[in-house]
Each structure stands twice: as structure tokens, then as C-alpha cells.
Symmetry: C2
């Protein structure tokens, strides 16, 4: 099947968007259940679904016998009430994650299921180099779609996840301390090379979108995703939507002023959580206290596991500040659960006790009932989050994927 | 007109609730504008409005000549497109605020407009005494409705605002350190005496509901209300709804662990913002540093205004911690604007500079673009917030005001 840059969804009304969203995130789901959950009439659901089936985005699954037996087994037009699912291969998406050292790319289907993965080391963090390498990686991934034996749908867009303050609306990376970027118009520059709609998003928010539509968020009324590693971030899902911040900033858990003011953060401020709890901060501290200036993170973790008290102390201190930050967050927004993810999860055992202690000491009242869940997590998940963000814009008809 | 405990709204569908909410919070508003803002068809809007007009909750205002001249001056059924408003006197609400020393009560109309106010000193914070005095105050206020020359609608319910952790669903005050209450089933106990639906709510959240429906929130996509005084609280409006917290706790800005850990908070924890920045904490500090153990708050404020350096230092320290707390909040949720209110606003000039300094130092990137607005504010506004919470439950058909 030839690739087309865009395959428009036949969704004319907000009700149609709502119906497709339910099928995508909660399917297999019968029409009657969509009607119940959305408050739409069954007729409205049936009307919204018909063109989606016609165009090959949605399908009736073979109904289970039990369902055919039920009293509601038939609807007005004589069609059995069989559950609806999206057709995963009807569209393809490219998701990319940028780190200071590597690019990670995935292709996914309509349900954000990962099909192909490709990593490549980055030659430099210079925007020009990164954009060229991103374009090459995207082309390589698009190539795998064309060459595969399976027939897959066209690429509807490319998502790029970057850490920092990202203006999603204009596709501009406003401030990414890790990349050393300021006001990089990534969507425009990459779009010129790839001739496809480009969505640029904050990486933690991308992960939260993926959890919202395809992960823990499907069943939770509210949740937070907290990522721990070279940076400390947080995505929030509250009142039916991922929190984006009126000015594009939200979830900056790593920049809450909860640490002593003696160290300057990568962002230039003092007292940020990351000055104590990022993996770099932990390593710097252990290098200094153990007087081993050439230690790497793996070595520092090894020292801590071996019981070196300086190394342990650095992780303890990180755990304490992370626990306080989690308490601050639940005291303010009161999520149902917190998913803890990120590269730092590998060292989780080194700070978990102190983290839970500090969380318990500072969580206010019933806010502390919130579950802290550990989620193992790879770099590919960041790229998948970028793809999920494209899918969301596509279904909703939001820029740059207008209908 | 005889008072009835409940006057049901003729709202059969979610669309009806949406339409009435727009008229109530954004009226006067033409039908065509409601259709545009809600995405409903004009026919659906007209259908939802008809029974509300019929039952006297909504009215067509006399249309302005300019509007009658417009091309859209007529709709299908030959009715001029005149803006819709609610009929303020169609219902009455009682709003009550409980403080450790006083009860404040108001009666409001359908638009949360205050009609009567009554304050009375509290004899004791014992729940039994408070409930008796609350019942008396409510009866007095209901009496003013009956005796007035104007014909007003029946009391649809009574709202009670209390500081602390309040379980709104069950009408239970779970933990109110200021009142010294734990698990007080206020709704049940007060309902027995008054035979009216009782809504019990956290006071800051009540204020946020009032701002959302009848204040700054009508035009803001997101906002925070921060109250400064004997306690420090925060209400958040994000993604189209006031944040309630999965476990009933949210907005506990006064209990973020941003202060040194040397003082124990009224909540029993260490390091809370309130240990430094509540009016009690400021007074205690000034009493100690000036060695004037009998100083009252007014005296402490006077000292600070006179330039006493100990008094100034206590306010400086409070301003710094409040500014850090505001920064933490905007870094996490990124509201469009922050309304600062509460009794402490009277001393605002004493800590504003330090507060803005600390906010500026810790707000991350564009999150700092958020406007900090000062809102003068009286105790009556807390009671009005409780009334607004009743109105919201009434319009939405939520407990205890089910249809």
C-alpha cells in the first residue's frame, strides 16, 4: 500500500470523536456500552460508527455466543451488538525520543502498539545535527513500513518527545536544559525534511498521554506519572485530561524548591529537587564524598549496593527529597495513583525506603492513601508516548493533524 | 410563597445541565451562542431551554434592537433570539462558614448574589454546640426569607464550609485541625434539625467553586485560589473542573514541606508552610523575637509597619515561604492566573515583595508568566462559596440534591 501523508478520519462531530476515543481506548466495546458511558443515544453511536467501519478504521469483532444470547442482542437495524475495536493496521505512526546522547524511534499502529524499534547514537546536540539525524531515523522507520510483508496503513504523523519546556501548539522547544536548546522550531525544521505532520511534545507529558489512552489511565479517574533519572518529571491526568499548563509548563516536579539552596540546578535556579535527586546529582555527590572523581553511575550504584556509607547517604538524600516532592504533589492535586517510571527505577531499591518515609511524613491526611506504583520502563516507551500524542491529535483533529 | 425543601429542576439530560450551566454562569446569553459554545444543535438548546422557562428558572430578556436587526434575529419557531438569563429569585440558598470563633451565614439567590448576612460568635468548638448554633443561624436566615416583602424561591439546600479534610460525598468533616474535629458527620446531624439537603465542603474549595461559576473562573481556562490567613489553602480549577482529589484532599498548599523542619504544624507534621506563614505562626515568632508574649496580631502588624526589624523579619520569612509554595504550585499545575485572597491579605504589603521575589526565583520557565491577582475578600465570601457549592450540586443533580 502506498504511503500517504494523511488519511483523514470520517469524524464530523464531537460525538464522533468521543465514540472513536472510547473504541480506541476501551475497546472491544459494544455500541450499547459506548452509549451508556458517553450519555449519547444508541442511534447517535451507530451513526458515528458507520463511516468509521466503512472507511476501515473500526471493525465489529465476531461476537461471543453469550453476547448474542443476551436480551440486547439486536439493535434497530438488525445488526448484532458485537463489540467494536479499531483496526490496528489502519494507520501507522512514528514516535521519536531525543536524549543528549541518543535518538530512539518506534513505529506504532493505531493502538500505540510498538512494531519496530531503532536506536542511534547522536553525533552532537547541535539542533541542526539532531534534526538531520531525526529525519534520517524517521525515513529509516518509514522504510520498514514500506518494505514489510504486511500491508499497513499510511503514516499519519511523526511525534518527537523532548525534555523541557515545549510549546506544543507551535512545535517549538522553548527551553531544554539537557539539550542546551532555546527556542528551536523543531516541528517546522523537521516538517520541511519529512513532508509529514510533526507533533513536538514534552517527553513526560507524552508518557502521560500514552498512559491515559493505552495504560493505567484507562481505568483511573486521575493519576500522575513521575519519571526519575537524569531529570525528574511528572505528568498529571486530572478531570478527564492531561494537564498541559496555561503557559505550556506543568508537572515540573524536579524543579520544586524542596532541596537546600546550596546547589545550582541545570535550569539555573537554586533549591530544585534535581540538584539532589537527579542521577547526575547523586553521582556528583558520591564522586565528591568518596573522593573518586572518575566514578561512573554504574560504579556509584555498585558502591551503594556494597554498603559504602557515602554512596548510601547520597541515595538516602535523593530518596528523601523525592518523597517530599511526591507528598507536595499529592497534597496539591490528590491523584488516585502515582506511577513511578524512568531510568532511575533501576536504582529504586537504594532510595525506596527513604522515599516512602518522607512521603508518609508529609502527605496530608487521605492524600497519602494514593498508591505509589513502580513501572518498569524503557527508552522505547518515551518514543511510544510521542506516537500516542500524534494519535490523540489525529483522533481529535487537533493541530497539526486537522481534518 | 411557602418554602419547600426542594424545587426540582426540569433537566432530563446532560445537555440540559450543560445549557442551564451556561445560562447561569455566562448569561445573558443567546441560544445561538450556547449552541456554538457547547457544540449542541440549536434545536437541542431550544428544547432544553423550554421547560426551564416554563418552570420559571430562566427568562428571555428583552432583546436589544441591534440584535433584532441581525440576520439571525429569528429562529425556526419564530421566536426572537433574545439572550437568556436565570431568574435570580427562583430559588434561595443558605451558605454557612464555620470558624473556631464565629459562624458566618448568608442567603443567596440563584446567581449566588448575597441577600442577607448574619454573623454570630461561637460559644465553643464542641461539635454539638456548633451544630446547634448552625441550626439556629440557618433558621434565622430562613426566617428572613419568609418575612421579607419580596417573593423569593424556596431554599433548595444549605451549604456549610469548614477548613480541613472534608468528605463531601458523605458530608463528614474527617479532620479539621482548627476546629479540633475528627470524623464529625455534620451533614447528617444538621440535616436532622433542618430537614433540608445539607452540603458540607472544604472552605477553600467552596471559594473556588464560587470563583469558577460566578467569578474570575468564568473566563479563565484554569486558575488557583490561594487563601492566606490563620490557614493557607488553595483551590484549583483545571481541565474544566474544580480539583477535588481522588481521596477528597487537594490544594493543601499550607502543608507543602517547604519550611525548615524545626516547628510542628497544627496538623502534627513538620516543615509545613503554615509553620512559618500562617498568621498564628507569624504572631508566635514576633512574640518570641520581640519578647512581648502578650502581643496580638494587630499589635504585631503595627510593629512591622513601624519598621521593627524582628516583626519585619517574621513577615519576610512568611513571604518567602508563601512565594516558594506558589512557585511549587504553578510549576506543577501551570494555572492561567492565581487569585490571592483570605484574611492575611490585609497584611499583604508586609510580605508581598519577598513573596514575589521567591516566586520569581523558583517559578520554572513560562509557568512564571502566571498572573498573581490580589482579591479583597471578606468572611461572607466563604459562606457564599458554600452557597455556590449547593447551587452546583442542584444544577448537576448531584448528592444530596438529586433530581
Amino acid at each position: 500500500m502506498p504511503l500517504r501523508p494523511h488519511r483523514p478520519l470520517p469524524l464530523a462531530t464531537p460525538a464522533g470523536v468521543e465514540v472513536l476515543t472510547r473504541i480506541l481506548t476501551q475497546g472491544p466495546i459494544p455500541r450499547v456500552e459506548i452509549a451508556r458511558r458517553t450519555g449519547l443515544s444508541q442511534a447517535a453511536v451507530t451513526k458515528a460508527v458507520a463511516p468509521l467501519i466503512e472507511a476501515g478504521f473500526v471493525t465489529d469483532q465476531a461476537a461471543a455466543p453469550a453476547e448474542l444470547d443476551s436480551a440486547n442482542g439486536m439493535v434497530g437495524i438488525g445488526r448484532p451488538v458485537s463489540p467494536l475495536t479499531v483496526v490496528p493496521r489502519s494507520v501507522s505512526v512514528i514516535g521519536l525520543k531525543v536524549t543528549p546522547t541518543d535518538l530512539i524511534g518506534v513505529t506504532t499502529d493505531f493502538t500505540a502498539g510498538i512494531r519496530k524499534v531503532s536506536h542511534r547514537p547522536l553525533d552532537s546536540t547541535d539542533p541542526k545535527t539532531v534534526i538531520e539525524q531525526l529525519a534520517d531515523l524517521a525515513k529509516e522507520l518509514i522504510g520498514t513500513l514500506k518494505s514489510g510483508a504486511e500491508v499497513v496503513g499510511p503514516v499519519i504523523g511523526i511525534g518527537v518527545a523532548v525534555s523541557g519546556d515545549v510549546d506544543e501548539k507551535h512545535g517549538v522547544v522553548r527551553d531544554s536544559p539537557f539539550m542546551g536548546w532555546r527556542d528551536v522550531p523543531l516541528a517546522e525544521l523537521l516538517g520541511r525534511r519529512l513532508k509529514l505532520p510533526i507533533v513536538v511534545t514534552n517527553d513526560v507529558r507524552a508518557l502521560t498521554v500514552a498512559e491515559h489512552w493505552f495504560g493505567v489511565g484507562v481505568d483511573a479517574d486521575s493519576f500522575a506519572v513521575v519519571t526519575i533519572g537524569s531529570g525528574i518529571g511528572c505528568g498529571l491526568y486530572i478531570n478527564g485530561e492531561v494537564v498541559s499548563g496555561a503557559y505550556g509548563v506543568s508537572g515540573e516536579l524536579g524543579h520544586l524548591p524542596l532541596a537546600p539552596g546550596d546547589l545550582v540546578c541545570t535550569c539555573g535556579r537554586r533549591g530544585c529537587v534535581e540538584t539532589v535527586a537527579s542521577s547526575d546529582a547523586i553521582l556528583t555527590r558520591i564522586r565528591s564524598t568518596t573522593k573518586q572523581p572518575k566514578l561512573d553511575l554504574a560504579g556509584a550504584i555498585k558502591l551503594a549496593h556494597a554498603g559504602n556509607e557515602h554512596a548510601r547517604a547520597a541515595f538516602d538524600r535523593a530518596g528523601e527529597v523525592i518523597g517530599s516532592a511526591l507528598a507536595a504533589m499529592v497534597n496539591l492535586v490528590g491523584p488516585e495513583l502515582v506511577v513511578i517510571a524512568g531510568e532511575g527505577v533501576a536504582e529504586y531499591d537504594l532510595y525506596e525506603d527513604r522515599m516512602r518515609q518522607a512521603f508518609g511524613a508529609h502527605a496530608f491526611g487521605a492524600a497519602g492513601d494514593c498508591r505509589l506504583m513502580l513501572r518498569s520502563h524503557t527508552f522505547d516507551d518515551w518514543a511510544r508516548g510521542a506516537a500516542a500524542t500524534v494519535l490523540r491529535a489525529y483522533v481529535r483533529g487537533e493541530p497539526p493533524l486537522h481534518r
